[in-house]
Subunit: 426 residues, 2 copies
Amino acid sequence: MTQTIRAEVMTIGDEILFGQITDTNTQWIGTELTNIGIRTIRKTSVGDDAGAILDALREAHTRADLIIITGGLGPTKDDITKKTLCQYFGVGMVRNQQALDLVTSFFVKRGREMTDLNRGQADLPANAEYVQNDWGTAPGMWFAHDFGDGRTVVYVSLPGVPFEMKSLMTNRVLPRLKTHFNPPIIKHKMIRTVGIGESFLAERIEAWEDALPPHIRLAYLPSFGGVKLRLTATGIDHATLDRELAEQVAAVMPLIEANVFGFDNDEIETVVGKLLQEKGLMLGTAESCTGGYVAAQITKNPGASSHFMGSIVAYSNDIKTGVLGVDPKIIEQFGAVSEGTIRQMAEGCRRVLNVDVALATSGIAGPEGGSPEKPVGTIWIAVATNNGTAAKLLKLGQYRDQNIQLTSNYVLNLVREELLKISNKE
Amino acid sequence: MTQTIRAEVMTIGDEILFGQITDTNTQWIGTELTNIGIRTIRKTSVGDDAGAILDALREAHTRADLIIITGGLGPTKDDITKKTLCQYFGVGMVRNQQALDLVTSFFVKRGREMTDLNRGQADLPANAEYVQNDWGTAPGMWFAHDFGDGRTVVYVSLPGVPFEMKSLMTNRVLPRLKTHFNPPIIKHKMIRTVGIGESFLAERIEAWEDALPPHIRLAYLPSFGGVKLRLTATGIDHATLDRELAEQVAAVMPLIEANVFGFDNDEIETVVGKLLQEKGLMLGTAESCTGGYVAAQITKNPGASSHFMGSIVAYSNDIKTGVLGVDPKIIEQFGAVSEGTIRQMAEGCRRVLNVDVALATSGIAGPEGGSPEKPVGTIWIAVATNNGTAAKLLKLGQYRDQNIQLTSNYVLNLVREELLKISNKE
């Protein structure tokens, strides 16, 4: 049986430690490594500080077979990854002709003048293999270091700019890692639930969980969209693992079916999109408190145009009455956050956008605007179909971001439930 | 002079290593620690594995004065943080009455039945001080461990659910850290630029950068919104550091003024929001390829209703013609991604939503839908005011997410430029 290949993913930059940028790279790298059967055992972020980088590298090489480093490759003085790698490996810096040609052509193409700082981007540690970056001037690098005790550790250094890193990984690094390591197989299966808490779920499936074989692990991942159940199986044969995972899913499903909206990377918006497409229905949204967030969630997926028509973001009451045709008297009497208003928003949206299914949101997202009768987190949602209009009152928390995200998930789940009713009627 | 307080932030959970959830906690914690003058020197993520957690803790306590741990505190079997902390400190587990009362009241309030798993959440390592969690049943914990060599390290263990962690940190942990450590002062000043690359910026400010005193550091942070320049000053006196940072900003501004849209946490949408408010103007958006993303960016900020009226997400051409009033002949002749269409979208939006300023987006976000004349990344943006309509063609890349985010930033920057012209006229 092949051994587990253990990876450590390292990001370099004060900006990550100080919380000034969001690190999306390590999540993406973790997913990609998992997909090719390499197990990420540690993620580490250190600052732009040679001592800290050297410490982190020395710790990492004791436990990892592969170290992937992102960041610190820019042309400016605060970027010290290359210099520090030279120190770590005990080598000098050498100008790489292939890298220089690429940097030069990058500037020639754009008709820009090249500076010494830019030319310096073609300097690499002497033991580095150059890995071509098609999208920028920071180089990718591959090192295979033999520790003399039978262990060789592979180091990959990549730019921190996410799309450059992703392009380098996808086109050059991941294929080479597969060939180099020939890793064992790790397979995941995710079951996505909604409307049931983590501990209730756990009690319901306890007997099944206790009976899982040791090479299949279960994790509960709670999030705004609901609790995800993740099964992780390790082995050497694709077909066996697939069969074993399918059997476990089949065994647990009867216990939780009503709460399962999808599997794996299914998001509530893609599940709703698929249902709409299957039924040949078009969706529109009328959004007040979510302010376009629901539409943005739907349209971040390619192909949304097959089932999504558009949206009226009725942030002001003038748009609710003027564009969606909500009766001003209803708003005056019951307020913009009321069952009367939400029903008219959904129905007006259905009419104005000429769609089969319309969803609507209106509420107090916070932090301001609450009152004793309608505290922050009071949110109405509705879905109108040709079956009629379903409306629901949500009582959420005090955090604006969370209220917007939860409302989006709940209203999309209400769309799912209403769409399933349409199917049952047919 | 006070010593630097060094913190390590540790997250526990396979889901983070495998890339299955986005870790937003460590960024938030990094920002908050920086704000109270504690320097994050390392971020570490390990899996749900006792050995890995123990290794990480033992490495961390050699370099950090403070270790903040999130995750692994759920009621289910895969959550092992508490058990592992017992092992690390060499103590047993004790049921905490205060924690049990809170868990019990949590279930009583919701009229739900309590399970043994839930009761187990009140069990804490014997040397833990209980830190009350007002939002969930997972406990917060504070440990001060004396290593017997004069060094005491503080450990804080928090739930991984972001809003529970934030509430605990804000209300209970950060105030206590301030009292406990009395940290030196670290101040940041961020200058936010747009429309100039990192290396060009660096050449332009090189002399100024080289003359910075050693206690003020500069970093270049490139992102979709443009390059951020971050100045970090360390010292013991608020007023002195504020003055020194202000002097450095004043010295560099004349070199880069045209490219600066804001400072610190200014985002292009908040800068635009402030400008609109100052001028008493209302904004609306007409979005095709951004699909509501621009509206969602604007409305994620509280108080957006003072300057934002709403949006027409015209994802389908029917909405462009039917609701925004774009001439169908223009779309037929030049396409939905054309200067003619974008101008009519912006102008139609201004009319239909009855706003002073309207922005519009229409383009091929990808990955499908490109053609030789209009490849993926071809995107038109426009801004209509009572000065007329400004339109611009963007030639972006092949990644959908990135195209949507960049388009949002560019069209908001075009709004900013048009608003500044209005001010110059007055």
